[in-house]
């Protein structure tokens, strides 16, 4: 009788897990071998630097150290309950938190701004063009741009101008917030957190936290939400939507992930960072017949592009370019000795890559003035000369093949298949396949709503965010995902969590077998992998649209839905900005790394509870992954109970 008990379900899952997934232990074994290579070369990796950083500063960790003016640094201790200016611990923690978040908003939004700049220069005969005309026309209509009888590029340029003005416009709030569900818009208006011009919000964060301005913690939190909303429903959304317009809205496609995607016989080029403008061109020129011929001439089989971090997510979503790894794999790529060039744009690039690349033949090429790094070859990349720049960069990599020490190449033999490319548009298209043409409408999220209300799917979980050496690499991502899938929660992913899933094998369609009966059946009927790759970290804006549109379709407010967000291994300022706008959008958000707010119970409690009064959702901090997962499931079931489903 075991066959029908839950133990049978667990047995099936255990069997499939063994068959389909690369265990973390196996990955760690391979990382250790690469680390040995680093040691042999007399160099170091993040593991060594982390050890050297111990013990990490507890004042920093708690957020109680203030360096905003030069009377300090001040830190709050038992004997010193206030800074020299008299600011208490809550003010200090809140100011630090707001500045941290503002850094993230700035980074995301500046990424979005770059995309808009690129978009403003699209032309039929240039490197950048309009690929998704429908999406452009939809936004143009939303923004009241005349479309009838006009050249698509005229429209594009006018839309770009309007979009760019969103960063500095004098009056009004972000245009995209109209895409939010009605209840959300009302909550934001009611709480005074409708985001205004993006640059203004970021500037105001810096101003509010300047010496002698705000020290009232809750007021600072309000600005944290408002500025973050200008990221999620402003800069990030622009980054996503206009990348789609220029490079195509992602649709499902197959690829591979993990270090084994590097090819010992090919010129390997790693693209790393976040902005797809450069990587799109690199991908294009990797197929240039002249450069492919050159690769063959130098003894390679071809040119193999693989990605790291969100640049990887961008090109895999649109071209199926394999994912070599996530944030903490960037050094490992170079350590294989098989990489001719690491080409980077912006964000999340270890300065360590400079010195590390010096130990190998690998060219470390920076391209953006935003991210200048010592020991890199800097080849400035500009929109006007994008094609020529990209070609020169790829050529540089190809010509470097001859310098590879082929004897000492070590590429771990591990990779897994993945299906990627689930934009909102792709999800709706996929949902259309499970409708009945005699009964249902197409083009809606209703099938997803039905799956949730009937209980087949218990809830939806967005797992996002980075790797962080504080957490065993990928363990938080993978273990949480496995737990959620076993409990019939559908998972959407972006950023480094998506790559964690893909690397392990969770993103293949076969991974349905590691799910509970509900998700397994859903995967089979809808022909999807159990975790849906929605893109890079700016693409969390896709998730915001998804939840709001599902809420509207369902007729409930976002906080009522059994939907949670989770960043088990987050580390960057962007992640805090994301967390703030996700919570403000009404999604309870679970963090596996505690932000630097532990020093203030006022701030900490507010984020975990009080904030609910404003936006209906809050944060949960829990560093034990097992408990974090339990809390998420409890949250989901409590919401179901409240809805009577």
């Amino acid at each position: 009788m075991e066959t029908t008990k839950l133990t049978a379900l667990e047995a099936r899952i255990a069997k499939a897990t063994e068959k389909l997934l690369i265990p973390i232990e196996k990955m760690e074994e391979e990382y250790a071998k690469l680390h040995d290579i680093a040691v042999a070369k007399g160099t170091e990796t993040w593991e060594d630097r982390k050890a050297a950083q111990k013990p990490q500063c507890t004042f920093g960790e708690e957020g109680v150290c203030c360096r905003i003016c030069s009377m300090g640094p001040c830190r709050i201790t038992k004997k010193a309950s206030r800074g020299i200016c008299g600011c208490d611990v809550h003010g200090i923690v809140a100011r630090n938190y707001l500045r941290f978040s503002a850094g993230g908003t700035a980074a995301h939004s500046d990424h979005g701004r770059e995309i808009m700049h690129t978009f403003s220069q699209t032309a039929a005969d240039k490197d950048y063009q309009v690929k998704d005309v429908d999406k452009l026309l939809k936004i143009a209509k939303d923004w009241e741009v005349e479309t009838e009888g006009r050249d698509i590029y005229d429209i594009a340029h006018e839309v770009a101008e309007i979009g760019l003005l969103e960063y500095g416009k004098v009056h009004g709030v972000q245009r995209f917030i109209k895409w939010a569900s009605k209840d959300r818009q009302e909550a934001w208006a009611r709480e005074g957190i409708e985001p205004r011009a993006i640059d203004r919000e970021i500037a105001e964060c810096l101003h509010r936290t300047h010496m002698g301005c705000s020290s009232e913690p809750i007021a600072l939190m309000r600005q944290a939400l408002r500025s973050a909303l200008s990221d999620g429903w402003g800069g990030s959304m622009m980054g996503t939507e206009f990348s789609d317009i220029m490079f195509g809205t992602p649709m499902p496609r197959d690829t591979e992930a993990n270090l084994g995607v590097l090819d010992a016989d090919c010129v390997n080029i790693i693209v790393h960072g976040h902005d797809p403008s450069l990587s799109e061109m690199i991908v294009k020129y990797a197929e240039d017949p002249e450069l492919v011929a050159l690769a063959k001439e130098v003894g390679a089989k071809g040119i193999n592009i693989a990605g790291v971090c969100c640049t990887s997510n961008e090109v895999t979503m649109r071209h199926g370019i394999p994912m070599a790894g996530n944030f903490l794999q960037q050094e490992n790529c170079i350590l294989t000795g098989a990489v001719e060039a690491v080409i980077v744009d912006i964000q999340c690039i270890f300065p360590a890559l400079g010195p590390l690349s010096q130990c190998f033949h690998t060219k470390f090429i920076t391209t953006s003035e935003i991210a200048r790094i010592p020991y890199a070859t800097h080849i400035p990349f500009s929109v006007e000369t994008a094609g020529a720049n990209a070609k020169a960069i790829v050529r540089e990599a190809v010509e470097n093949f001859k310098n590879r020490d082929k004897e000492s190449v070590y590429i771990p033999d591990m990779k897994r298949k993945a299906t990627v490319g689930y934009s909102c548009e792709a999800i709706i298209k996929q949902l259309d396949t499970v409708t009945n043409s005699y009964v249902d409408e197409t083009g809606t999220y209703q099938p997803l709503v039905d799956c949730i209300t009937s209980g087949v799917i218990r809830g939806a979980v967005a797992v996002v965010g980075c790797n962080n050496p504080k957490i065993r690499t990928d363990f938080g991502h993978i273990e949480l995902m496995k737990k959620m899938l076993k409990n019939d929660c559908v998972i959407v992913l972006s950023g480094c969590s998506a790559q964690a899933a893909a690397k392990a094998g969770l993103m293949s369609k076969e991974a349905k077998d590691i799910c509970g009966a509900g998700m397994k059946r859903v995967c089979e009927l809808a022909d999807i992998p159990p975790v849906l790759h929605m893109g890079s970290c700016v693409d969390i804006s896709r998730m915001m649209r998804l939840v709001c549109d599902v809420a509207t379709q369902w007729g409930v407010d976002v906080p009522q839905m059994p939907v949670v967000g989770c960043a088990p291994e987050w580390m960057s300022e962007k992640a805090v900005s994301i967390g703030n706008y996700v919570v403000a959008t009404g999604i309870d958000t679970f963090l596996g790394v505690v932000p630097y707010v532990g020093g203030s119970d006022v701030v900490s409690n507010f984020l975990q509870d009080g904030i609910k009064e404003w936006v209906g959702a809050s944060f949960t901090f829990e560093t034990d992954m097992e408990k974090l997962g339990d809390l998420m499931l409890e949250n989901i079931e409590a919401k179901r109970l409240a809805l009577g489903i």
Partner: protein
Amino acid sequence: MTLFERVFNGSDDMFNMAVKAVDEAIAKYGEDKAVSLPNTAYGIPCLYAFTAKKYETLGAIKNEALPAIQEMMVKENRLHHAFTSGIATALSAEVIETMKYVMNDGEKPYDDKYHGHMSDAEIRELGVPLVTDDIPGVAVLIGPAPSKEIAADLIKGYQSKGIMVFMTGGIIDQAIEANVNMGFKIRVVPCGPELESVIHVVSVAIRAALIFGAIQPGDYDGILAYTKDRVKAFVNAFAPLSDRTVGCGAGAIALGFPVITDDKENTWSVPKSLIIYDGYENYIPASIEARGIKLKITDIDVPIAVAPAFEGEIIRRGDMQIEANGSRLDAFELVRTRDASEVEDHKITLVGKDLDEFEAGSRINLAYVVDIAGKAMQPDFESVIERKIHAYINQCEGIMHTGQRDMITIRVSKAAFEAGWRARHFGELLWALIKNEFEAVCDKCQVTIYTDPEETAKLRHELAAATYEKRDERLGSLTDESVDVFYTCTMCQSFSPSHVCIVTPERLGLCGAVSWLDAKATKELNPEGPCQIVTKDGPQDDRLGRWDGVDAAVNKYSRGAVERVTLYSIMEDPMTSCGCFECICGIEPMSNGVVIVNREFTGYSPIGMTFGDLASMTGGGVQTPGFMGHGKNFIPSKKFMAAEGGVERIVWMPKALKEEVAEKLNATAKELYGIDNFCDMIADEETAADEEALMAFLTEKGHPALGMDPMM
């Protein structure tokens, strides 16, 4: 209340009923009373499939089966538990139905209008039409429907699309009121009056997994995957749905069968699984789409419905407008290969009077000659196409066809005639269906219909008889030695994934439906299809019929599940079976012989096993030395278990089967051993019901097997 709560309540209700039914049975008979369902080798089949146990007494049901069911009823909010509770609901229903049989001394507990439990043989009979898509799907109707008209429209609508219909509950009475014909043969099956009788159709699906899929009892995931991927069933359940119906629905959905219901109260849509819909006029296409059933679309210009479901129809004399009968008057059918210049596509010609020029009830002369031209057409395919005519004409609602060549009988019912059926419609029908099925070889097709007595007689004797004779000569010359290649047939792999038939001239497919010529034609029609060439490379053993080429093919097309087979032995690496074989033979150790049992025979063979028992020894692509499934026409083959000595090993067959094969079998025995009237030496159910009687009979007749070496 949530959907899962309704499922849990429903499974509780059904379980409690089962407990009560068992208690009542025990009160009447005691715990030691033996329990079984008729004509199945799988015990109480669904219980056996899910728990891997055969419960043989009321005590075992009470003390083992019921607790096993209860264990599946975990009330946690996960689909897994809703599914197992749904399966538990079905198993409880099976217990309830089984108790009805027990209380009625093992006989069917209903009156004649209900079919109740289905036998293993009936399921095996469905194997071929299911894999060939002649039954493209199975509809389970749980009624009553909103009106008897809706009920009748649905049933007839499904039937006209070939979809097999099972019914339970009030919809059966609605169908009777609306004069809908019902019966297993015409694929409209009234299961029983109460909801729990739905288990009889579930039992068909579950046994299909065991029979054809070789799924091991107890393999919960395996059963669910098999039924979901391979049994194209769906449910139409009508309002108001009780919790018990919702519980059964969860079981159906667990098995992969979507439920389409018009009940909007307290129901939840689940995409592709639970569909709420009350557009009765589109219930059929909506249901077909929900299950992903693809229908073969053939537009035929005839005034009556054409669907495989009508094949089993019988037209009685009183209902008959016209009869043609080759044994009394001249009647025949013929397919000819002609040059392209001699054929005008879709030309239908009538020579003689039309049907409305004969009096009602007349017996007439009737012949049709189908001329086919095509670049890939070969005379060898004529008989393959001609043999399909029986099915084509029989599929017409109100027309019956039996026999072949010039021994056909055709009856056109008054209803079909009144609907407008005339002589030329035979042409329209044959043209459309032949062009559809044989498009790869048939570029042009014309049909000439003869009712003129003189023409018919002349053509029968001059044209048809000569052609048949020529074909027989060709067939007679076809031996395993005379041909260069054999063929695989993997048609059944949609059902039985690891089975491969090797089809040779002297050994047709075990289903009886695929001869070597059929396989050859199939390869031509569909080069990537189920029939692939098997080379005779590397002959290893003539006696056993072992070739490297055969082993390689079996290995390849079973994807490694079967490594080697012999063609002429039932002891050494015998050929596997899918489960839809016509006959099964098994060794009878005392006489050194074999018994053969055909699917239609429901009694016991002298070795104490029914067809179902014997059949359950093999099937699903498994090799079981000593047991082998095969077609009827393989019995008189010189290659029939030739390695063990051939047909003289046959010691017992059901009488009807013996009579069917007697002429050819006698001829083979005469040729091989010089024995006259060999069939007289073979015992049957009348002459030998058990082994003792068998031995006595064989000794009396001096059956040659008694003097042969033991087989094991």
